[in-house]
Assembly symmetry: C2
Homo-oligomer: 338 residues x 2
Amino acid sequence: MKEFPEQSTIIDVHSKDWKIIELFRKKPGGIISGEELGGALDISRTAVWKHIRTLQEIGYQIEALPSQGYRLLNSPDILIAEEISSGLVTGTIGRKILCFKNTDSTNRIAFKLGEQGAEEGTVVIAEEQSRGKGRLGRQWESPSGVNLYCSIILRPPLMPVKAPQCTFLSAVAVSQTIETTTTLIPRIKWPNDVLVNGMKVSGMLNEMSAEMEKINFIILGIGVNINMRREQFPPQLRHPASSLFLESGKPVNRIEFTRALLTCFDSLYESYLRKGIGPIREQWLSRSALTGRRIRVSFQESEAVGIVVGLDDDGALLIQGDGGKIEKILAGDVSIVE
Amino acid sequence: MKEFPEQSTIIDVHSKDWKIIELFRKKPGGIISGEELGGALDISRTAVWKHIRTLQEIGYQIEALPSQGYRLLNSPDILIAEEISSGLVTGTIGRKILCFKNTDSTNRIAFKLGEQGAEEGTVVIAEEQSRGKGRLGRQWESPSGVNLYCSIILRPPLMPVKAPQCTFLSAVAVSQTIETTTTLIPRIKWPNDVLVNGMKVSGMLNEMSAEMEKINFIILGIGVNINMRREQFPPQLRHPASSLFLESGKPVNRIEFTRALLTCFDSLYESYLRKGIGPIREQWLSRSALTGRRIRVSFQESEAVGIVVGLDDDGALLIQGDGGKIEKILAGDVSIVE
């Protein structure tokens, strides 16, 4: 798990550094002497000072009080694996979390890790992506320090034909997370957008490596515009886009959001493996922005118009054309016909 | 296209070396003087000698006749890209051919090349595989110098759900090639075995990298037991296996076989892209070893028994159970029930 492209920087917190943070957290607002820290970590007071310096460099605000000790004033707004793992109770998802300061694309890193045999539930997160990927070769705008860009490695014991079902899991997990961390009401737009007030706040890019009869692994890429500001959106976007911050007026703690997302996802994935897609589809349909609406779907040169009546097992959108015939839509861009 | 694992050795024939072979081929049995060769290649007679040495090291038998020149006596029984390309007339398949003396798995190399953007129709061939892969993580016996192990990179503009159709193309291409290069009668056993006299002579391993709505690339791995001898088969095999040589009693020229296979495949692929799976399926069904037979299919813990009645668009085998119900079989191992 060591082979990363040169342009990627991993955020690596030493276990003793993290132990110091944990000690501070147990004494909220409190001061811990260098001697006490040294004793707890079995290191010298000089070594304690070095660890404090490292933590300060990562972004932890730690005050040194002469002849008293140290005090943690503030934690940085950075997606750090240890912060996300802290208090995370999941069965599969997030057993291993890798956080990057920057990378080209978390999906690309995750795909590489998948090929190297990374365990199911491994999560790759980046503060910034230089080449964030959207569906069908499109770009995903990925400014630093404000959003969530993460990729989850799954190894479901399923046929490749079932892989598109995983898109439903991501969209439902993101929606549930928005519901629990904000007061916003998310809506899902097939195939894989999550909207708030009609504006796109999240998109997914799912990829897989498979034999004809067996999924090797699936990479679920999830991008969520969390605290992105208006000026950080490019002037021309395919769909009207926004962020949770812009829609709610309140910044969202990204570490808490990520922890909540992994927790939701873990429970949905466990349900999916035990009970199949049924319960997930119900969750999906209850949030669908399209059900009952008349839509136009364009894909390459073709186009279809009809009223959305459901979602098929293989992930296809079911629309009823003017003649009453039900059509299966497997790919394309959707717009609502007024 | 330079990044190969350390354990792989590419067979690299210099363009001037190959020019010399072409000059010899135009003068069958004839002698060419060092001066003439030097003139044609615009190099010195000493340089000619060095190129002749390189060719001899590759395995070309070239005789040096004092004060007369050189004569090509024999070409090696090695899969060399230039030999396969020579006289190959295809549209897409084999536009680029990479031949390895040895590698772990041609599918793995091809997958890597696919990720690096290798063009459609790129073919990876190896004389020997140290970790030849069969379906579902099984091993594919790959001794050196007697068989064909090749992987073809395709980039069809299709949904991933159509990918299993490519299995039909491989099986039909291998069957047609056996028909044109030997007197044997091949039969196809679903999903992807080619049999001669009831013995397996060829198997396929198809893999893909895909988004949910788009195939990035497909790797079609094809193994054909061409000149393998009885003692080269391991004592215990899942299916009774043989080679074209063992079944026909005659060795098969591997270069000609490979060229014929790429030609068949090219024409089937072109037909597939233009007309869909229909014509390929007819070809497949006309060679099916199972149609009308009563079979048992086992997959993981489940089992199905029925009479084979057809092949579905998604690659599923259609069997009719005792109750008359048609069942779709998407994966598994088949045995014929007597």
